[in-house]
Amino acid sequence: MEAVIEKGNIIFDDANWDFETLQRTLEAIEEIALGDLKLDIYPNQIEIISSEQMLDAYSSHGMPLMYKHWSFGKHFARDQMMYQKGYTGLAYEIVINSNPCIAYLMEENTMAMQALVMAHASFGHNHFFKNNYLFRQWTDAEGILPYLDFAKKYIAKCEDEYGFEEVEAILDASHALMDQGVFRYSRPPRLSEADRMAKLAARAEHEELTFNDIWRTLPNTEEDEEEKEERQAEVRNIKLPEENLLYFIEKASPVLRPWQRELVRIVRNIAQYFYPQKQTKVMNEGCATFVHHYIMTELYNRGAIGEGAILEFLHSHSSVVFQPDFDDPRYSGLNPYALGFAMMGDIKRICEEPKAEDREWFPEIAGSGDWREILKDAWANYRDESFILQYLSPKIMRDFHLFAIADNAKETHVEVSAIHDDLGYRRVRERLAAMYDIGMHEPNVQVVAAALEGDRKLTLHHKVHDGRKLSDKTRDVILTHIETLWGHEVKLEETNA
């Protein structure tokens, strides 16, 4: 590649941007991202949008295509209100795990912000999406947009055919089970998710090719024998207990019609698509933040951007990685950007300038010098929980002043169980890692029995961990939703593991 960055040749010096400057800046960023950091990315598609379009995207999981549902309208109304009243700003960008990797930039951003955002989203997140094992295994970057397109059209057709209320009832009920609608530990029994997506995308494409206004029909209201056979065979293959409630209901519900099963499947597929993102917040944001910080600093060091731009960048960057203390009114948990960025910067430090403590804790990487490879390996092979367990160093625990608090609901006091000292490092690290284990804070509800004949009762089981019961605020509403999908009595048991 031809070098874009030349000494003393500043790529932009104005707060306003135009497409020419964007292109020039993107090329300079790419030179560092690919030439120096050696990132491996999907092609980039960078879209400039207005703030209203950003709000639009917000309300529907940040996806450019999404089916219609009232809950997205509700989120939009809330976000719009918050934004107009000045309670919250909008994100500078949204990035989508797809190939090509789509990133939205807001038109209001200054040029320095656009540079930051491109480095962050189009290189940081992009590299993470393409390389992290969770995304590689569980999501299909090629297929997601065609699939969402299919889903949107399919649901719109169902609304036409069966009415808003019918469709809404199924979607509402399925949404309530989204957290319990993913495969966590094992791959789906038969079709892999990617195959499934591809099959559905192909189906969508086929529909498009054979689209004909006169012959437009929905899949039959009644299931044909062959499909029924196939489905029942799948049901027989399910080994109870089954953790994926949506999957079980989709396959085994005695009352759902084919189009309703398809709706449940759409919600389930979308839940599964977002599942890796839930497990990699710290890593994903840490990776993107580390990358943008490195690139912007490097652009400055090489003389491609001036003092003004780097100061503006540092201002935004420091607010992104700001971590309020637990007793600060602004505190709302650990900031994934702050923790991720700190840990990744720390890995670089350990590789380059290790102290005795680091050599003791991280003998494999301390002083190895090759931080690029170590970081890329971490980005590819870990999720938040395992990453923290592996790489959280005593230095970071000290910098953040981390401490663990044990809280037993039966007692009037909480107890400090560990702090950032020699005695506490391992415990703090282990507890912090556990906090990022989704299994710990999302209830583990499974199907344990289903009578496919007779009274057709569905029995669910909540495995109680550490005595933490289901909140009864939502429990009964959700059971009603499950009954909508199952069509017969649903029972939920709760016992200690």
């Binding site: 292109q23 993107l26 309208g73 637990f326 650990l334 401490f403 009037t412 400090v416 109680v464 509403v477």
Partner: protein, 440 residues
Amino acid sequence: MAFSHFIDRRKNPKGKSLGNRQRFLKRARAQIKEAVSKSLRDRSLKEIEKGEKISIPSKSTVEPRFRLDPETGKREMVHPGNKEFGKGDKIKKPPQSGGKGKGKKASTDGEGEDAFQFTLTQDEFLDIFFEDLELPNLVKRSLKEIKATAYKRAGITVSGSPTNMNLIRTMRNAHGRRLALHRPSTREMNELKERLFELERIAQPSNEEILSRKDIIAKLEAMERRRRWAPFIDPLDVRFNAYEPTPVETTAAVMFCLMDVSGSMGEREKDLAKRFYMLLYLFLKRRYERVEIVFIRHTHHAEEVDEETFFYSRQSGGTVVSTALDKMLEVQRDRFAAHEWNIYVAQASDGFTQSGDAKRCVEILNESIMPISQYYAYIEILDERELEVFSNEDSGAELWRAYRTFAPAWENFAQTRIARPQDIFPVFRELFSKTKREAA
């Protein structure tokens, strides 16, 4: 750079989430409606025309997920910013919320009991408010305005005005024709030209090359001819969207708004009356595109005025209510023949009139107005103190009592009273409520 590209999406159509919004409003309809009526109570005239921030209980649109109850079990959380704690320190729990930082989280995922706030546009606001209101007894009499037409799509034609050109059809036809007539494409031509260039660049061409050069030139000329003969777009290809005028049935209706602006009406009373009419005006404009509205105000004599004067000008004088009724009849005879129009009348007054005039009003109503009207609503504007005195339906100012005597004879006559701004909306709903009328 092949690797990345920019797309400018700012010009894309807006309002992508409109469908979601409509679904949301529908979903929370009952709660939104309640909030709308509540907020209407304390609004001024001007404010009615603006959008409105409303809040509804978030319970109505909750999206439930299984959650662990923070009041049960054990957990161990890691937090930043330790200053003085050491291992084993005990800290008293803050009241109610289970653990640190947990209290705030409940509301962010929409499960809190607190209100959900958002903004309705003016259209949405009025739509919801007027939703189940209608003009009573609207019948399609011999329809005066049957002449009204609307243009409807009626397929595709070969002639029309350029603004109606159907580009997709036109281009599709052109494409089909080009294929059928084997029109040489620009790409084919360019390829040949390319080869010709190459051949021409050869300084000492062989016989073979000279021949193929001539051949290419001949081919190119033939293609040129063919392209002229089969143009890119031919007038034959052009199609237009056709529109056909179709008669639209409309119901001709007129609303007479009669308002007392005499000296006995204080500023407060006038304001109440005007607010009532403003609401009526908005309602009619919104729900009935073709309703005519006639504004008549009166003191001891009556005049027809435009809406600006009706709502915003000040005037004072004595009171003779019957002049307004006479004026109304005059206008009606003049412009709104009873067999062609649905006639509605709303009258607002403080109920005081010259002695003996009330009787005359009743006569006019009985003999001339009621027989031709679909609906007549009389709104008496009361002083707040009077409300106590006149709590009984039968007692009231002169006009009220006079109207009470003849009212039972006419089903389409309604009388009601307003004493406070907050009465306006309930009274309005009562007068025009769809469900109540159907039930009655």
